[in-house]
């Protein structure tokens, strides 16, 4: 909470800082905000004029500089632990093909990560359990049933089969348009669901870890 004694320009700076830092994990946003609030409270004495406050804010640098430095600093640490989030996303999509165990490992990585919120984890869990492998299962379970009849020549004297047997299969009944549409819808959901969920989780992890990608450099606001 912003204390009453902060200069109005300092309060405005803190509001802008929290706005540009809103994508940071809440605990980190709270820490950074509290430290800079402490800095402002220590640097701007009660009753200070606007000029004095502006000088402090100028030394502090714009909020955009702070978040850029934070992204760069977190990116260094995030690079070392991002493999868990990457593995989680991949296993949630494809791990089901490894007898379902891969998906379960992905699930553990998902729930152990601090980069995703509970809501993200619930989405990653429910859309879709088993990942794309579930689509295969759906195809097998809802596939067209067929009726097969065997043929073999029979010796009239003994009644025993003679020569090679043959098998002929025909669809037992054509699926109705409604059931075909349902099958296609289910298939699309079970294939696209895990992919959409994976993209969502990857984006959330990227945003919450604070890294945007290479090229931001270190502390870009060093004097030159």
């Amino acid at each position: 909470m912003t204390p009453d004694h902060l200069h109005p320009l300092a309060e405005d700076y803190l509001r802008r800082l929290r706005r540009v830092c809103r994508r940071l994990p809440p605990e980190r946003l709270g820490e950074l905000s509290a430290e800079i609030e402490g800095h402002l409270a220590a640097a701007i004495p009660p009753g200070a004029g606007d000029d004095e406050a502006l000088e402090v804010l100028e030394r502090l640098g714009p909020p955009g500089d702070v978040i850029e430095a934070e992204r760069s600093a977190v990116g260094g640490s995030a690079d070392r632990r991002r493999w868990r989030e990457r593995a989680a996303v991949i296993l949630l999509v494809l791990g089901g093909f490894a007898a379902g165990v891969g998906w379960l490992v992905g699930l553990v990585l998902l729930w152990r990560s601090r980069l995703w919120t509970t809501r993200d984890k619930v989405i990653g869990t429910l859309i879709v359990p088993g990942g794309i492998a579930t689509a295969l299962l759906v195809v097998v379970l809802t596939g067209t049933k067929r009726r097969c009849v065997g043929f073999a020549a029979v010796d009239p004297s003994t009644g025993a089969p003679v020569g090679h047997a043959a098998m002929h299969c025909t669809p037992s009944a054509g699926p109705s348009a409604a059931s075909t549409a349902l099958q296609i819808a289910l298939l699309l959901f079970f294939v696209l669901g895990p992919l959409v969920s994976a993209v969502y989780l990857a984006r959330r992890a990227r945003d919450r870890s604070g890294f945007i990608g290479p090229g931001l450099g270190g502390y870009g606001q060093l004097s030159t």
């Binding site: 800095h39 030394r59 640098g61 702070v66 430095a69 934070e70 640490s77 060093l222």
Partner: protein, 115 residues
């Protein structure tokens, strides 16, 4: 392409800044504001003091420093930083390398100037 002198100096500063933080903590814990102000007042080292708080966060995550929040009678709680054993070891290793590096560069620049 060889970077211009300004770019090289900026990269050099980025590399040494975290060790400047550790050096300031070598003699004992410091309030984050005092630490940031001391770095900000060092000639030509930093222009945006606010960017030092993310650096302190990284050093904390890497175990180079530890911090403690304390209530303040005159304002919001204050965060105090102190160097860890790992941080101290990293600082010592850097300091010995830095002395050799600085001497070598100085020597080459002086030789180049008189050649």
């Amino acid at each position: 392409m060889v970077p211009d002198g300004e770019t090289s100096i900026t990269q050099l500063r980025r590399g040494v800044l975290e060790f400047c933080v550790l050096a300031l903590l070598r003699d004992g814990e410091r309030y984050s504001f005092d630490l940031v102000r001391a770095l900000g007042e060092a000639e030509g080292l930093v222009t945006s003091e606010g960017t030092l708080y993310p650096l302190l966060g990284r050093l904390r995550r890497e175990g180079m420093v530890q911090s403690t929040w304390r209530e303040s009678a005159t304002g919001p709680p204050r965060r105090y930083y102190r160097i860890t054993q790992d941080g101290d070891a990293a600082l010592r290793a850097f300091a010995s390398q830095w002395a050799r590096f600085r001497d070598s560069v100085d020597t080459l620049i002086e030789v180049g100037a008189t050649a």
